[in-house]
């Protein structure tokens, strides 16, 4: 008798739902956050290396691309922070009800944009 062990289903075979979309976004933002931490590391290193070298960072952060990236990183941190709180509630055993999980997901998604807006435009 031949038996083939099942392959783990890949991302593209899933039917998209809010829960799965928010879940993969949590993981994606964790990688963006890594990029954010690398920017912070560069910031510190350029700061140590002196005023002349730091001017490259100033040039970058005042450019459109720099601003776009920093606002993006702010959103990424916001989303991961807020959805992380949602995950912590699940870890404690709360919020598994489908309606509650969907509602908390929508709240997290909207709040992440609100938080980004508050940080950059207020």
């Amino acid at each position: 008798m031949s038996f083939k062990s099942p392959l783990s289903p890949h991302l593209q075979v899933y039917k998209w739902q809010l829960s799965s979309l928010l879940s993969i976004t949590h993981r994606m933002t964790s990688v963006f956050n890594l990029a954010g931490m690398i920017f912070l590391t560069l910031w510190i290193l350029l700061l140590i290396s002196g005023q002349n070298t730091f001017s490259y960072f100033e040039m970058f952060s005042s450019s459109f691309i720099g601003k776009f990236i920093f606002v993006g990183i702010t959103w990424s941190f916001s989303y991961h922070l807020l959805n992380g709180i949602r995950h912590l509630f699940w870890d404690l055993g709360y919020g598994y009800d489908l309606k509650v999980a969907n509602l908390s997901g929508i709240i997290v998604l909207l709040s992440s944009f609100v938080l980004t807006f508050l940080v950059w435009f207020i």
Binding site: R27, S30, L34, M37, W43, I48, G66, V119
Partner: protein, 105 residues
């Protein structure tokens, strides 16, 4: 406690501690990235600011090393490449913390 369980728990502990410091940090992030050289130095001259940023670096990199190693476990089959990937995260973390330490001297 099982090694995997303690990793899981430590990542949550770091996550909980990160919530308040990261919120503080986010509201300084827009200023921080637009600071001139002198403004940045002035910001880091404040002990409270340095303390909070150090806390973020330690907690975030700790949390990140655990999380990233989980992602590498999921997507990298080759053990050597996986180790290399984990080492590079450790390298970035150490560089950042060392840099902050040097800056604070």
């Amino acid at each position: 406690m099982n090694h995997v369980v303690s990793k899981w728990l430590m990542q949550r502990v770091a996550a909980v501690l990160l919530i308040p410091v990261l919120l503080w940090f986010l509201f300084h992030f827009d200023n921080l990235m637009n600071f001139s050289y002198l403004e940045a130095l002035q910001f880091l001259n404040n002990r409270f600011n340095v303390a909070v940023i150090s806390l973020i670096f330690i907690l975030a990199f700790f949390h990140m090393r655990l999380g990233m190693s989980e992602i590498f476990e999921d997507y990298i089959q080759d053990e050597k490449i996986r180790k290399l990937a984990n080492l590079s995260i450790l390298g970035i973390s150490s560089t950042a913390c060392l840099g902050l330490g040097l800056q604070a001297l």
